[in-house]
Protein backbone atom coordinates (compact mmCIF):
# COMPACT_ATOMS: atom_id res chain seq x y z
CA UNK A 1 0.00 0.00 0.00
CA UNK A 2 1.05 3.50 -0.86
CA UNK A 3 2.67 5.10 2.20
CA UNK A 4 2.18 8.65 0.99
CA UNK A 5 -1.54 8.04 0.58
CA UNK A 6 -1.74 6.35 3.94
CA UNK A 7 -0.09 9.34 5.54
CA UNK A 8 -2.31 11.83 3.71
CA UNK A 9 -5.51 10.07 4.66
CA UNK A 10 -4.46 9.01 8.14
CA UNK A 11 -7.10 8.38 10.74
CA UNK A 12 -6.81 11.77 12.44
CA UNK A 13 -7.53 13.54 9.16
CA UNK A 14 -10.44 11.30 8.29
CA UNK A 15 -11.83 11.69 11.78
CA UNK A 16 -11.70 15.48 11.58
CA UNK A 17 -13.31 15.42 8.13
CA UNK A 18 -16.13 13.13 9.26
CA UNK A 19 -16.64 14.80 12.61
CA UNK A 20 -15.43 18.36 12.24
CA UNK A 21 -14.91 20.28 15.49
CA UNK A 22 -16.54 23.67 16.02
CA UNK A 23 -18.81 23.17 13.06
CA UNK A 24 -21.70 25.50 12.34
CA UNK A 25 -22.42 29.21 12.54
CA UNK A 26 -21.37 31.38 15.47
CA UNK A 27 -24.19 33.59 16.69
CA UNK A 28 -22.01 36.24 18.30
CA UNK A 29 -19.41 36.45 15.58
CA UNK A 30 -17.57 39.73 15.33
CA UNK A 31 -15.82 38.66 12.16
CA UNK A 32 -16.76 36.40 9.32
CA UNK A 33 -15.47 35.51 5.85
CA UNK A 34 -16.32 33.09 3.12
CA UNK A 35 -13.67 31.24 1.19
CA UNK A 36 -14.22 29.61 -2.16
CA UNK A 37 -11.96 27.60 -4.39
CA UNK A 38 -13.38 27.92 -7.90
CA UNK A 39 -11.19 25.06 -9.12
CA UNK A 40 -12.87 22.42 -7.02
CA UNK A 41 -15.94 24.21 -5.68
CA UNK A 42 -14.87 23.89 -2.04
CA UNK A 43 -16.49 26.43 0.24
CA UNK A 44 -15.78 27.39 3.80
CA UNK A 45 -17.15 30.08 6.08
CA UNK A 46 -15.12 31.05 9.13
CA UNK A 47 -16.80 32.80 12.06
CA UNK A 48 -14.76 34.55 14.74
CA UNK A 49 -15.48 36.24 18.01
CA UNK A 50 -12.49 38.46 18.73
CA UNK A 51 -12.32 40.01 22.19
CA UNK A 52 -11.09 43.51 22.96
CA UNK A 53 -7.52 42.25 23.24
CA UNK A 54 -7.72 40.83 19.73
CA UNK A 55 -7.85 37.27 21.02
CA UNK A 56 -9.90 34.53 19.37
CA UNK A 57 -12.53 34.04 22.06
CA UNK A 58 -14.48 31.69 19.84
CA UNK A 59 -14.17 30.30 16.34
CA UNK A 60 -16.43 28.13 14.23
CA UNK A 61 -16.66 27.15 10.61
CA UNK A 62 -18.97 25.53 8.15
CA UNK A 63 -18.30 24.37 4.66
CA UNK A 64 -18.43 21.78 1.96
CA UNK A 65 -15.48 20.17 0.39
CA UNK A 66 -12.97 17.38 0.30
CA UNK A 67 -11.66 15.53 3.33
CA UNK A 68 -8.48 17.60 3.34
CA UNK A 69 -10.24 20.95 3.32
CA UNK A 70 -12.70 19.96 6.03
CA UNK A 71 -10.08 18.35 8.25
CA UNK A 72 -7.78 21.33 7.87
CA UNK A 73 -10.54 23.75 8.85
CA UNK A 74 -11.41 21.60 11.86
CA UNK A 75 -7.79 21.33 13.02
CA UNK A 76 -7.39 25.07 12.56
CA UNK A 77 -10.34 25.92 14.78
CA UNK A 78 -8.97 23.61 17.48
CA UNK A 79 -5.64 25.37 17.39
CA UNK A 80 -6.65 29.01 17.09
CA UNK A 81 -9.07 29.26 19.95
CA UNK A 82 -7.48 31.50 22.57
CA UNK A 83 -4.74 32.80 20.30
CA UNK A 84 -4.32 36.45 19.39
CA UNK A 85 -4.69 37.43 15.75
CA UNK A 86 -0.96 38.12 15.63
CA UNK A 87 -0.14 34.66 17.01
CA UNK A 88 -2.57 33.13 14.53
CA UNK A 89 -0.80 34.88 11.66
CA UNK A 90 2.50 33.29 12.70
CA UNK A 91 0.89 29.88 13.02
CA UNK A 92 -0.54 30.29 9.56
CA UNK A 93 2.88 31.07 8.11
CA UNK A 94 4.27 27.98 9.78
CA UNK A 95 1.38 25.86 8.58
CA UNK A 96 1.82 27.01 4.98
CA UNK A 97 5.48 26.02 5.11
CA UNK A 98 4.63 22.68 6.69
CA UNK A 99 2.16 21.64 3.98
CA UNK A 100 4.59 22.72 1.26
CA UNK A 101 7.26 20.54 2.80
CA UNK A 102 9.44 23.48 3.84
CA UNK A 103 11.16 23.84 7.21
CA UNK A 104 8.74 25.11 9.82
CA UNK A 105 11.11 25.17 12.78
CA UNK A 106 9.54 28.30 14.24
CA UNK A 107 6.21 26.58 14.85
CA UNK A 108 5.73 26.19 18.59
CA UNK A 109 5.92 22.60 19.78
CA UNK A 110 2.22 22.39 20.64
CA UNK A 111 1.17 23.70 17.23
CA UNK A 112 3.56 21.44 15.38
CA UNK A 113 2.23 18.37 17.15
CA UNK A 114 -1.26 19.46 16.31
CA UNK A 115 -0.66 20.27 12.66
CA UNK A 116 1.92 17.75 11.57
CA UNK A 117 -0.79 15.30 10.57
CA UNK A 118 -1.17 17.59 7.55
CA UNK A 119 2.52 17.20 6.69
CA UNK A 120 1.69 14.39 4.27
CA UNK A 121 0.35 17.03 1.90
CA UNK A 122 3.88 17.96 0.89
CA UNK A 123 3.79 14.86 -1.34
CA UNK A 124 0.61 16.16 -2.99
CA UNK A 125 1.30 19.68 -4.22
CA UNK A 126 -1.95 19.70 -6.22
CA UNK A 127 -3.88 19.43 -2.97
CA UNK A 128 -2.13 22.06 -0.86
CA UNK A 129 -4.79 24.62 -1.76
CA UNK A 130 -7.44 22.41 -0.20
CA UNK A 131 -5.69 22.65 3.15
CA UNK A 132 -4.93 26.34 3.03
CA UNK A 133 -8.43 27.52 2.11
CA UNK A 134 -9.66 27.68 5.72
CA UNK A 135 -6.54 29.52 6.87
CA UNK A 136 -6.75 32.11 4.13
CA UNK A 137 -10.41 32.54 4.97
CA UNK A 138 -9.53 33.03 8.64
CA UNK A 139 -7.05 35.72 7.63
CA UNK A 140 -9.68 37.43 5.51
CA UNK A 141 -12.12 37.30 8.39
CA UNK A 142 -9.66 39.02 10.70
CA UNK A 143 -8.56 41.61 8.19
CA UNK A 144 -11.74 42.38 6.30
CA UNK A 145 -14.55 40.47 7.90
CA UNK A 146 -15.65 42.82 10.65
CA UNK A 147 -19.34 42.20 10.92
CA UNK A 148 -20.43 45.80 10.82
CA UNK A 149 -19.15 45.82 7.25
CA UNK A 150 -20.68 43.77 4.48
CA UNK A 151 -17.89 41.47 3.42
CA UNK A 152 -17.46 40.66 -0.21
CA UNK A 153 -15.38 37.50 -0.09
CA UNK A 154 -15.88 35.15 -3.00
Amino acid sequence: MDNALRELYQEVILDHSRHPRHYGPLEKATHKAEGYNPLCGDRVTVYLALDDAGRVADIRFEGKGCAISQASASLMTDLLKGKTAAEAGKLMDGFLRLVRGEAAADLPEEAREHLEVMGGLSEFPMRVKCATLAWHTFKNAVEEGRQTVEEGAS
Partner: protein, 414 residues
Protein backbone atom coordinates in the same frame (compact mmCIF):
# COMPACT_ATOMS: atom_id res chain seq x y z
CA UNK B 1 0.06 1.45 -41.98
CA UNK B 2 -2.96 3.71 -41.76
CA UNK B 3 -4.26 2.43 -45.10
CA UNK B 4 -4.13 -1.13 -43.81
CA UNK B 5 -6.07 -0.06 -40.76
CA UNK B 6 -8.77 1.48 -42.83
CA UNK B 7 -9.38 -1.84 -44.50
CA UNK B 8 -9.53 -3.67 -41.20
CA UNK B 9 -13.10 -4.41 -40.17
CA UNK B 10 -12.53 -3.60 -36.52
CA UNK B 11 -10.40 -1.32 -34.48
CA UNK B 12 -7.22 -2.27 -32.65
CA UNK B 13 -7.00 -0.02 -29.62
CA UNK B 14 -3.81 -1.68 -28.35
CA UNK B 15 -2.07 -0.81 -31.61
CA UNK B 16 -3.44 2.74 -31.48
CA UNK B 17 -2.21 3.06 -27.92
CA UNK B 18 1.33 2.50 -29.16
CA UNK B 19 1.02 5.58 -31.40
CA UNK B 20 0.93 7.75 -28.28
CA UNK B 21 4.35 7.79 -26.66
CA UNK B 22 3.14 9.38 -23.44
CA UNK B 23 0.87 6.43 -22.70
CA UNK B 24 3.93 4.25 -22.23
CA UNK B 25 5.23 6.32 -19.33
CA UNK B 26 4.39 5.13 -15.85
CA UNK B 27 2.78 7.51 -13.35
CA UNK B 28 3.62 7.00 -9.67
CA UNK B 29 5.21 3.74 -10.79
CA UNK B 30 1.94 2.44 -12.22
CA UNK B 31 0.71 1.82 -15.75
CA UNK B 32 -0.96 5.02 -16.95
CA UNK B 33 -4.71 4.78 -17.46
CA UNK B 34 -5.41 8.14 -19.05
CA UNK B 35 -9.13 8.74 -18.67
CA UNK B 36 -9.11 12.51 -19.01
CA UNK B 37 -9.23 12.93 -22.77
CA UNK B 38 -12.45 14.91 -22.36
CA UNK B 39 -10.27 17.64 -20.87
CA UNK B 40 -7.52 17.18 -23.42
CA UNK B 41 -6.49 14.24 -25.56
CA UNK B 42 -2.95 13.00 -25.95
CA UNK B 43 -1.18 13.50 -29.23
CA UNK B 44 0.05 10.72 -31.50
CA UNK B 45 3.58 10.71 -32.88
CA UNK B 46 2.16 11.51 -36.32
CA UNK B 47 1.04 14.92 -35.01
CA UNK B 48 4.26 15.70 -33.18
CA UNK B 49 6.32 14.60 -36.18
CA UNK B 50 4.27 16.64 -38.63
CA UNK B 51 4.73 19.79 -36.55
CA UNK B 52 8.45 19.23 -36.15
CA UNK B 53 9.04 18.39 -39.81
CA UNK B 54 7.03 21.40 -40.93
CA UNK B 55 8.94 23.71 -38.59
CA UNK B 56 12.23 22.24 -39.83
CA UNK B 57 11.48 22.42 -43.53
CA UNK B 58 8.64 24.74 -44.51
CA UNK B 59 8.01 27.24 -41.76
CA UNK B 60 7.57 30.98 -42.29
CA UNK B 61 4.74 33.43 -41.79
CA UNK B 62 1.72 32.96 -44.01
CA UNK B 63 0.01 35.16 -46.59
CA UNK B 64 2.75 37.75 -46.41
CA UNK B 65 6.08 37.07 -47.97
CA UNK B 66 6.91 36.42 -51.60
CA UNK B 67 9.72 34.11 -50.67
CA UNK B 68 9.66 30.37 -51.08
CA UNK B 69 9.08 29.39 -47.45
CA UNK B 70 6.24 31.83 -47.02
CA UNK B 71 4.55 30.24 -49.99
CA UNK B 72 5.15 26.74 -48.65
CA UNK B 73 3.81 27.69 -45.21
CA UNK B 74 0.76 29.36 -46.73
CA UNK B 75 0.07 26.23 -48.75
CA UNK B 76 0.31 24.08 -45.62
CA UNK B 77 -1.94 26.41 -43.65
CA UNK B 78 -4.61 26.50 -46.36
CA UNK B 79 -4.32 22.74 -46.84
CA UNK B 80 -5.04 22.39 -43.12
CA UNK B 81 -8.16 24.46 -43.62
CA UNK B 82 -9.31 22.04 -46.32
CA UNK B 83 -8.62 19.13 -44.00
CA UNK B 84 -10.91 20.67 -41.38
CA UNK B 85 -13.49 21.37 -44.09
CA UNK B 86 -13.47 17.73 -45.15
CA UNK B 87 -13.56 16.51 -41.54
CA UNK B 88 -16.70 18.53 -40.81
CA UNK B 89 -18.29 18.02 -44.21
CA UNK B 90 -18.41 21.73 -44.99
CA UNK B 91 -19.29 22.76 -48.53
CA UNK B 92 -16.64 25.43 -48.87
CA UNK B 93 -13.18 25.92 -47.42
CA UNK B 94 -13.89 29.60 -46.72
CA UNK B 95 -16.51 28.47 -44.20
CA UNK B 96 -13.71 27.38 -41.85
CA UNK B 97 -12.20 30.06 -39.61
CA UNK B 98 -9.17 29.10 -37.56
CA UNK B 99 -9.33 30.22 -33.95
CA UNK B 100 -7.24 29.53 -30.91
CA UNK B 101 -9.77 27.00 -29.69
CA UNK B 102 -13.44 26.18 -29.26
CA UNK B 103 -13.95 28.96 -26.74
CA UNK B 104 -12.70 31.59 -29.15
CA UNK B 105 -14.85 30.12 -31.92
CA UNK B 106 -17.98 30.63 -29.81
CA UNK B 107 -16.87 34.08 -28.70
CA UNK B 108 -16.39 34.97 -32.36
CA UNK B 109 -20.05 34.19 -33.01
CA UNK B 110 -21.11 36.17 -29.94
CA UNK B 111 -19.11 39.25 -30.86
CA UNK B 112 -19.27 39.22 -34.63
CA UNK B 113 -22.61 37.66 -35.42
CA UNK B 114 -24.94 38.25 -32.51
CA UNK B 115 -23.73 41.40 -30.79
CA UNK B 116 -24.50 43.74 -33.70
CA UNK B 117 -27.93 42.18 -34.14
CA UNK B 118 -29.23 41.98 -30.62
CA UNK B 119 -31.62 44.37 -28.89
CA UNK B 120 -32.57 44.46 -25.21
CA UNK B 121 -35.11 41.71 -24.59
CA UNK B 122 -33.92 39.51 -27.45
CA UNK B 123 -33.46 35.94 -26.38
CA UNK B 124 -30.77 33.29 -26.59
CA UNK B 125 -31.84 29.71 -25.92
CA UNK B 126 -29.37 27.36 -24.29
CA UNK B 127 -29.46 24.17 -22.25
CA UNK B 128 -28.45 23.71 -18.63
CA UNK B 129 -25.77 21.21 -19.65
CA UNK B 130 -23.61 23.71 -21.52
CA UNK B 131 -19.93 24.11 -20.81
CA UNK B 132 -19.02 27.59 -19.55
CA UNK B 133 -17.55 28.27 -23.00
CA UNK B 134 -21.08 28.14 -24.36
CA UNK B 135 -22.58 30.12 -21.48
CA UNK B 136 -20.30 33.00 -20.61
CA UNK B 137 -20.19 34.64 -24.08
CA UNK B 138 -24.00 34.78 -24.00
CA UNK B 139 -23.93 36.17 -20.46
CA UNK B 140 -21.79 38.97 -21.89
CA UNK B 141 -24.65 39.83 -24.24
CA UNK B 142 -27.09 39.72 -21.33
CA UNK B 143 -24.85 41.89 -19.20
CA UNK B 144 -23.91 44.38 -21.89
CA UNK B 145 -26.85 44.46 -24.25
CA UNK B 146 -29.82 43.31 -22.28
CA UNK B 147 -30.22 39.93 -23.97
CA UNK B 148 -32.31 37.37 -22.10
CA UNK B 149 -30.99 33.86 -21.55
CA UNK B 150 -33.65 31.18 -21.82
CA UNK B 151 -32.52 27.97 -20.09
CA UNK B 152 -33.79 24.62 -21.29
CA UNK B 153 -33.78 21.94 -18.60
CA UNK B 154 -32.82 18.35 -19.25
CA UNK B 155 -34.40 15.13 -18.03
CA UNK B 156 -33.05 13.33 -14.98
CA UNK B 157 -31.21 10.85 -17.20
CA UNK B 158 -29.40 13.77 -18.83
CA UNK B 159 -31.25 13.64 -22.13
CA UNK B 160 -32.48 16.77 -23.81
CA UNK B 161 -36.20 17.30 -24.18
CA UNK B 162 -36.49 18.64 -27.72
CA UNK B 163 -40.09 19.68 -27.13
CA UNK B 164 -38.99 21.82 -24.20
CA UNK B 165 -36.29 23.36 -26.33
CA UNK B 166 -38.75 24.01 -29.12
CA UNK B 167 -41.14 25.64 -26.66
CA UNK B 168 -38.38 27.95 -25.46
CA UNK B 169 -37.91 29.39 -28.94
CA UNK B 170 -40.03 32.51 -29.25
CA UNK B 171 -40.30 35.30 -31.84
CA UNK B 172 -37.63 37.08 -29.76
CA UNK B 173 -35.11 34.26 -30.03
CA UNK B 174 -32.00 35.24 -31.95
CA UNK B 175 -29.93 32.08 -31.49
CA UNK B 176 -30.05 28.56 -30.10
CA UNK B 177 -26.67 27.70 -28.54
CA UNK B 178 -26.46 24.02 -27.71
CA UNK B 179 -23.81 21.40 -27.09
CA UNK B 180 -23.52 18.52 -29.51
CA UNK B 181 -22.28 16.34 -26.66
CA UNK B 182 -22.19 17.18 -22.97
CA UNK B 183 -18.68 17.19 -21.49
CA UNK B 184 -20.07 15.95 -18.18
CA UNK B 185 -22.98 13.67 -19.00
CA UNK B 186 -21.90 12.38 -22.38
CA UNK B 187 -25.38 13.18 -23.66
CA UNK B 188 -25.48 13.50 -27.44
CA UNK B 189 -28.11 15.99 -28.49
CA UNK B 190 -30.32 15.36 -31.55
CA UNK B 191 -28.70 18.19 -33.40
CA UNK B 192 -30.37 17.71 -36.80
CA UNK B 193 -33.78 17.78 -35.19
CA UNK B 194 -32.92 20.81 -33.07
CA UNK B 195 -31.73 22.64 -36.16
CA UNK B 196 -34.86 21.70 -38.10
CA UNK B 197 -37.11 22.95 -35.30
CA UNK B 198 -35.17 26.18 -34.86
CA UNK B 199 -35.01 26.84 -38.57
CA UNK B 200 -38.76 26.32 -38.83
CA UNK B 201 -38.99 29.40 -36.63
CA UNK B 202 -36.27 31.23 -38.50
CA UNK B 203 -33.69 30.87 -35.70
CA UNK B 204 -30.06 29.89 -36.35
CA UNK B 205 -28.24 27.28 -34.26
CA UNK B 206 -24.72 27.23 -32.87
CA UNK B 207 -23.40 23.85 -31.77
CA UNK B 208 -20.53 23.49 -29.34
CA UNK B 209 -18.70 20.58 -30.91
CA UNK B 210 -15.75 20.39 -28.52
CA UNK B 211 -16.76 16.84 -27.55
CA UNK B 212 -19.18 16.07 -30.36
CA UNK B 213 -16.54 16.31 -33.07
CA UNK B 214 -14.47 13.72 -31.22
CA UNK B 215 -17.13 11.14 -30.51
CA UNK B 216 -19.71 11.66 -33.25
CA UNK B 217 -19.22 11.65 -36.99
CA UNK B 218 -20.05 15.20 -37.96
CA UNK B 219 -21.50 16.38 -41.25
CA UNK B 220 -22.39 20.04 -40.93
CA UNK B 221 -24.25 20.01 -44.24
CA UNK B 222 -26.46 17.11 -43.24
CA UNK B 223 -27.02 18.73 -39.84
CA UNK B 224 -27.69 22.05 -41.57
CA UNK B 225 -26.25 23.69 -38.46
CA UNK B 226 -25.31 27.37 -38.78
CA UNK B 227 -22.22 27.39 -36.57
CA UNK B 228 -20.13 24.49 -35.30
CA UNK B 229 -17.19 25.10 -32.95
CA UNK B 230 -14.33 22.64 -32.51
CA UNK B 231 -11.04 22.60 -30.67
CA UNK B 232 -7.86 20.89 -31.80
CA UNK B 233 -6.48 19.58 -28.54
CA UNK B 234 -9.43 17.30 -27.85
CA UNK B 235 -9.12 15.89 -31.38
CA UNK B 236 -5.63 14.48 -30.74
CA UNK B 237 -4.15 17.70 -32.09
CA UNK B 238 -2.17 20.52 -30.51
CA UNK B 239 -3.38 23.21 -28.14
CA UNK B 240 -3.74 26.77 -29.40
CA UNK B 241 -5.89 25.97 -32.40
CA UNK B 242 -9.55 25.36 -33.04
CA UNK B 243 -11.99 26.27 -35.73
CA UNK B 244 -15.38 27.71 -36.34
CA UNK B 245 -17.50 26.36 -39.13
CA UNK B 246 -20.07 28.94 -40.20
CA UNK B 247 -22.30 29.07 -43.20
CA UNK B 248 -20.89 31.31 -45.89
CA UNK B 249 -23.83 33.73 -45.79
CA UNK B 250 -23.35 34.26 -42.04
CA UNK B 251 -19.61 34.87 -42.36
CA UNK B 252 -20.11 37.36 -45.17
CA UNK B 253 -22.52 39.35 -43.00
CA UNK B 254 -20.36 39.26 -39.88
CA UNK B 255 -18.18 42.14 -38.78
CA UNK B 256 -14.67 41.41 -37.55
CA UNK B 257 -13.91 40.56 -33.94
CA UNK B 258 -10.15 41.12 -33.66
CA UNK B 259 -8.49 43.87 -35.68
CA UNK B 260 -4.96 43.69 -37.00
CA UNK B 261 -2.81 42.43 -39.80
CA UNK B 262 -4.12 40.12 -42.48
CA UNK B 263 -7.81 40.76 -41.87
CA UNK B 264 -7.97 43.99 -43.85
CA UNK B 265 -8.19 44.86 -47.49
CA UNK B 266 -7.07 48.46 -47.19
CA UNK B 267 -6.11 50.78 -44.37
CA UNK B 268 -5.93 54.55 -44.79
CA UNK B 269 -5.80 57.34 -42.24
CA UNK B 270 -9.51 57.87 -42.55
CA UNK B 271 -10.94 54.41 -43.15
CA UNK B 272 -10.49 50.67 -43.39
CA UNK B 273 -12.01 47.96 -45.52
CA UNK B 274 -12.00 44.34 -44.54
CA UNK B 275 -10.76 41.21 -46.20
CA UNK B 276 -13.26 38.55 -47.19
CA UNK B 277 -13.92 35.63 -44.84
CA UNK B 278 -12.23 33.66 -43.48
CA UNK B 279 -9.23 36.03 -43.41
CA UNK B 280 -11.48 38.77 -42.00
CA UNK B 281 -11.65 36.79 -38.77
CA UNK B 282 -8.02 35.74 -38.54
CA UNK B 283 -6.23 38.92 -37.49
CA UNK B 284 -2.55 38.64 -36.70
CA UNK B 285 -0.22 35.73 -37.25
CA UNK B 286 -2.34 32.62 -36.88
CA UNK B 287 -1.31 29.35 -35.20
CA UNK B 288 0.58 28.10 -38.24
CA UNK B 289 2.53 25.15 -36.87
CA UNK B 290 -0.56 24.16 -34.90
CA UNK B 291 -2.65 24.17 -38.07
CA UNK B 292 -0.30 21.59 -39.53
CA UNK B 293 -0.58 19.59 -36.29
CA UNK B 294 -4.35 19.77 -36.36
CA UNK B 295 -4.45 18.58 -39.96
CA UNK B 296 -2.14 15.68 -39.07
CA UNK B 297 -4.40 14.81 -36.14
CA UNK B 298 -7.51 14.79 -38.30
CA UNK B 299 -5.71 12.71 -40.94
CA UNK B 300 -4.63 10.28 -38.23
CA UNK B 301 -8.09 10.07 -36.72
CA UNK B 302 -9.90 9.85 -40.06
CA UNK B 303 -7.69 7.00 -41.25
CA UNK B 304 -9.44 4.77 -38.75
CA UNK B 305 -12.87 3.38 -39.34
CA UNK B 306 -14.64 6.04 -37.29
CA UNK B 307 -17.68 3.87 -36.72
CA UNK B 308 -15.41 1.17 -35.33
CA UNK B 309 -13.69 3.69 -33.04
CA UNK B 310 -17.07 4.82 -31.80
CA UNK B 311 -18.13 1.22 -31.20
CA UNK B 312 -14.89 0.66 -29.29
CA UNK B 313 -15.52 3.69 -27.06
CA UNK B 314 -19.08 2.54 -26.45
CA UNK B 315 -17.80 -0.89 -25.51
CA UNK B 316 -15.55 0.71 -22.88
CA UNK B 317 -18.47 2.73 -21.58
CA UNK B 318 -20.68 -0.33 -21.35
CA UNK B 319 -17.89 -2.33 -19.71
CA UNK B 320 -17.39 0.43 -17.14
CA UNK B 321 -21.12 0.67 -16.47
CA UNK B 322 -21.25 -3.06 -15.96
CA UNK B 323 -18.34 -2.90 -13.51
CA UNK B 324 -19.90 -0.02 -11.61
CA UNK B 325 -23.12 -1.96 -11.14
CA UNK B 326 -21.29 -4.04 -8.54
CA UNK B 327 -20.29 -0.88 -6.69
CA UNK B 328 -23.64 0.22 -5.35
CA UNK B 329 -22.04 3.19 -3.59
CA UNK B 330 -21.29 4.83 -6.94
CA UNK B 331 -23.99 6.96 -8.55
CA UNK B 332 -23.60 7.59 -12.25
CA UNK B 333 -24.86 10.97 -13.43
CA UNK B 334 -26.04 10.97 -17.01
CA UNK B 335 -27.57 7.90 -18.58
CA UNK B 336 -29.18 9.29 -21.70
CA UNK B 337 -29.87 6.78 -24.47
CA UNK B 338 -27.11 6.88 -27.10
CA UNK B 339 -24.77 8.82 -24.88
CA UNK B 340 -21.11 9.06 -25.78
CA UNK B 341 -18.09 7.75 -23.95
CA UNK B 342 -18.01 10.07 -20.96
CA UNK B 343 -18.84 8.78 -17.51
CA UNK B 344 -19.48 11.08 -14.56
CA UNK B 345 -20.23 9.79 -11.12
CA UNK B 346 -20.54 10.61 -7.50
CA UNK B 347 -19.32 8.32 -4.75
CA UNK B 348 -21.09 8.15 -1.41
CA UNK B 349 -18.97 9.52 1.40
CA UNK B 350 -16.18 10.60 -0.88
CA UNK B 351 -15.35 13.98 -2.30
CA UNK B 352 -14.29 13.92 -5.95
CA UNK B 353 -10.90 15.44 -5.18
CA UNK B 354 -10.00 12.88 -2.57
CA UNK B 355 -11.07 10.16 -4.96
CA UNK B 356 -9.09 11.64 -7.85
CA UNK B 357 -5.98 11.87 -5.69
CA UNK B 358 -6.21 8.20 -4.76
CA UNK B 359 -6.92 7.18 -8.36
CA UNK B 360 -3.95 9.25 -9.48
CA UNK B 361 -1.64 7.24 -7.21
CA UNK B 362 -2.89 4.17 -9.04
CA UNK B 363 -1.93 5.73 -12.38
CA UNK B 364 -5.55 6.53 -13.21
CA UNK B 365 -6.03 10.08 -14.50
CA UNK B 366 -9.58 11.36 -14.16
CA UNK B 367 -11.12 14.78 -13.89
CA UNK B 368 -12.71 15.90 -10.64
CA UNK B 369 -14.63 19.08 -10.12
CA UNK B 370 -17.43 21.02 -11.71
CA UNK B 371 -16.10 20.52 -15.26
CA UNK B 372 -16.80 24.15 -16.18
CA UNK B 373 -20.50 23.30 -15.97
CA UNK B 374 -21.67 24.82 -12.71
CA UNK B 375 -25.25 25.22 -13.88
CA UNK B 376 -25.37 21.50 -14.58
CA UNK B 377 -23.88 20.73 -11.15
CA UNK B 378 -26.63 22.83 -9.61
CA UNK B 379 -29.21 20.97 -11.72
CA UNK B 380 -28.11 17.66 -10.22
CA UNK B 381 -27.54 19.07 -6.73
CA UNK B 382 -23.85 18.22 -6.60
CA UNK B 383 -20.82 20.45 -6.15
CA UNK B 384 -18.53 18.24 -8.15
CA UNK B 385 -18.30 14.90 -9.88
CA UNK B 386 -15.55 12.56 -10.95
CA UNK B 387 -15.36 12.03 -14.68
CA UNK B 388 -13.76 9.31 -16.73
CA UNK B 389 -13.69 10.10 -20.43
CA UNK B 390 -12.67 7.59 -23.05
CA UNK B 391 -10.65 8.01 -26.20
CA UNK B 392 -9.60 5.73 -29.03
CA UNK B 393 -6.45 4.65 -27.17
CA UNK B 394 -8.21 3.47 -24.04
CA UNK B 395 -8.69 -0.22 -23.36
CA UNK B 396 -10.55 -2.41 -20.91
CA UNK B 397 -7.36 -2.50 -18.84
CA UNK B 398 -7.88 1.22 -18.18
CA UNK B 399 -11.42 0.54 -16.99
CA UNK B 400 -10.17 -2.29 -14.77
CA UNK B 401 -7.65 0.11 -13.23
CA UNK B 402 -10.43 2.62 -12.60
CA UNK B 403 -12.65 0.04 -10.92
CA UNK B 404 -9.81 -1.27 -8.77
CA UNK B 405 -8.91 2.30 -7.83
CA UNK B 406 -12.49 3.00 -6.78
CA UNK B 407 -12.46 -0.02 -4.47
CA UNK B 408 -9.18 1.09 -3.00
CA UNK B 409 -10.45 4.61 -2.43
CA UNK B 410 -13.38 3.22 -0.53
CA UNK B 411 -11.03 1.20 1.68
CA UNK B 412 -9.06 4.32 2.51
CA UNK B 413 -11.78 6.92 2.84
CA UNK B 414 -14.93 5.20 4.02
Amino acid sequence: MTAARKLAPSFDAEAARRDFAILARPVHGKRLAYLDSGASAQKPEAVLDAMRVFAETEYANVHRGVHYLSGAATDAYEAARRTVQAFLGAAHEDEIVFTKGGTEAINLVAYSYLMPNIQPGDEIVLSVMEHHANIVPWHFLRERQGAVLRWVDIRDDGSLDVEALDAAITPKTKLVAITHMSNVLGTVTPLAEIVARAHAKGVPVLADGAQGAVHEIVDVRALDVDFYAITGHKLYGPTGIGALYAKRAHLKAMRPFNGGGEMIREVTRARITYADPPARFEAGTPPIIESVGLAAALDYFSAFDRAAVKAHEHDLLAYAREGLRELNWVRVIGDAPGKGAILSFEVAGMHAHDLATILDREGVAVRAGHHCAQILMERFGVSSTTRASFALYNTRADVDALLAGLRKARQILV
